[in-house]
Subunit: 373 residues, 2 copies
């Protein structure tokens, strides 16, 4: 097996769903896959041995945040991000492009690169695509994402068109600058909700023959249906033999719909962020554990769930932890919500293997769990 080879095991006949396998130096990733997010090198509230028990195959960490703290040189000197955060399986680093354009005070954007201020101390930084590659090589994840320009939503066609062209130029420069053979560089498709720009982005990136492609610029405020409508032709146009990673999309229904369009990889902070607000995913829809109805409910959080939280703690206890703002509430709900998405994607893989993804998706969409996502 060759590093970064993407092997398609099976394709569903009634949908675009694919069952694949992506080889990295830190294990094989079975796709479709959900990647828990550890922005600063930690999935909030969940230690790495627990993530392993949950069946996480690949974690995401963020270059922007790790660059600011503790600094890419410290992560490099620790032996890389795997050693630093004690995770032996695969890791993907986002380039930080999204954070620069959404969080940071972006000062100057040119063909050369982007100048921005730190959200922490206001310090100025300038990144070229080459700088970004050097930083991500220091971090040492298995998959690095190209530096891209992420336009807001909504944005004028001309703004999005410029971002598409600049991002494609930067992808080429990232490819040239990238040297680590144990790290795959993924391009990022942009184009917002403009079909022709999306296709131009796909064409330009496909020509670079990168080992995989992100699909960026979704889940930035556009209506859910518009995302799905726009995503379909993008997936159809993307190279068949490369993994497709829909960035930042993590609600269960969107994940399953996008798998049906041929997406292979997902990440989102939703499971842990939702947990910290006291809300649990469940087979019957989201549950706000603050709700008084759970005060004397001594049954498990979700009777159909096999996670350690559901096996050990009652709804009444979880409600008590959440209402008293005890850390353990966020921890136990994070474990449950991560299990929920990891288990959902595991079942999606099984359904594709069984040639029954269409039925699996239909069953989900007609279940109470699909309604509030």
């Amino acid at each position: 097996m060759t590093l970064f080879d993407f092997h398609l095991l099976s394709r569903d006949s009634s949908t675009g769903a694919r069952r694949g396998r992506f080889h990295t130096a830190h294990g094989t990733i079975e796709t479709p896959v959900f990647m828990p997010v550890g922005t600063r090198g930690t999935v909030k509230g969940v230690a790495t041995p627990q993530l392993d028990e949950l069946g996480a195959q690949v974690l995401l960490a963020n270059t922007y945040h790790l660059f600011l703290r503790p600094g890419a040189d410290i992560v490099r000197d620790a032996g890389g991000i795997h050693a630093f955060m004690n995770w032996d399986r695969a890791i993907l680093t986002d380039s930080g492009g999204f954070q620069i354009f959404s969080l940071a005070d972006t000062l100057k954007l040119s063909e050369e690169g982007v100048e921005f201020r730190s959200i922490l101390d206001g310090s100025k930084h300038f990144w070229t695509p080459e700088d970004n590659m050097r930083i991500q090589e220091d971090l040492g994840a298995d998959i690095a994402m190209q530096l891209d320009e992420c336009p807001p939503y909504p944005a004028e066609t001309s703004v999005v068109a410029t971002a598409v062209r600049r991002s494609a130029d930067w992808a080429a420069r990232c490819k040239t600058a990238h040297t680590r053979e144990d790290q795959a560089l993924f391009g990022i498709v942009q184009g917002g909700v403009f079909g022709d720009l999306r296709l131009e982005s796909v064409d330009r990136l496909a020509a670079l023959d990168l080992p995989g492609y992100g699909i960026g610029g979704y889940s930035v405020g556009e209506p859910h249906e518009l995302m799905l409508e726009s995503l379909r032709p993008v997936c159809s146009a993307m190279p068949v033999d490369k993994p497709r990673y829909l960035m930042g999309v993590g609600n269960p229904t969107s994940i399953l719909q996008a798998i049906g369009l041929g997406v292979d990889m997902f990440d989102c902070v939703l499971p842990t962020r939702t947990a910290r607000t006291g809300t649990a995913f469940s087979s019957t829809g989201r549950m706000n554990m603050r709700n008084l109805q759970y005060a004397r409910d001594f049954g498990p959080l979700d009777p159909t769930c096999t996670c350690s939280t559901c096996a050990q703690y009652s709804r009444a206890y979880l409600r008590h932890l959440v209402t008293t703002k005890e850390m353990l509430g966020a921890i136990l709900l994070s474990v449950h919500n991560l299990h929920f998405l990891l288990d959902l994607t595991a079942r999606a893989r099984e359904a594709i293997e069984a040639g029954a993804y269409g039925e699996f998706l239909s069953a989900w969409l007609s279940s109470p769990a699909a309604e509030d996502y």
Copy 2:
């Protein structure tokens, strides 16, 4: 073996240290023992399976906090505190007396009982010793503490004398009101730093022949040396065949010194509270993990420690988590600090068994770890 029998396995010849065994319906407690504190039915940041792995034998929960939220009736209906918090080993509930007198707005104190306001919503509550017993029986811990009056420090002799007499009267009423045969009722010795009042308290409580005794009213602001000096005659006067529990004292040096005076049980929020401020116990003294000196220190937190945090994570990573205020920092340091005290008391037990507690204590007191406690 009889429930609540306290069996002394050995006594150290050069100190007052004792190695004992206390039988409860949820397992035997090997003493001297440190009891992690789970005030609201959760040891902050640490799930019960981890506490089991850490070797915790008995946890402490607080009646005042559980009475206010979620309510003793909910804990009772959940099947008791063990089922509610998913802990099969022993549990001790403090009566809440300390919280009423320190946290709460105490409205009225009489021989009959105490009226206080909730710190949560200002609601008025009135507890007699009998009410407190009923609440603790609803919670269903293995060990219940009597309701006592806790005078502040410093306090006039007359104030402390009244508290001693009232607490002893209340202990007798608690004993009469207490009905659960699977729950041991402990009395609480008061008397502040007044030797004669301490001895009066011991005499009056010993006459009740309770299965164990707390020693309250220390660690409330008095100088460390004064506590030790005052504690020695108290321990000497207490019944030999009953466990002695020094309430709220948890720094390593005080624990070891008190073991040398014949104390058997300890509890304190110190390990988890210290962890949440980013500070670790260690064999070389406390370590403030915010310190810049750890930024590039890729070695384990404490090279002599066998806990899961020290086995898996570096000082540099822990510093990163603490400086970025990531939950995992508090979690990993809580695990380490709990391990530190549980391991220290386990080694104290071994030293007593080996007839070498004096040497063990001397070695600790001359080590760098002893200095800053």
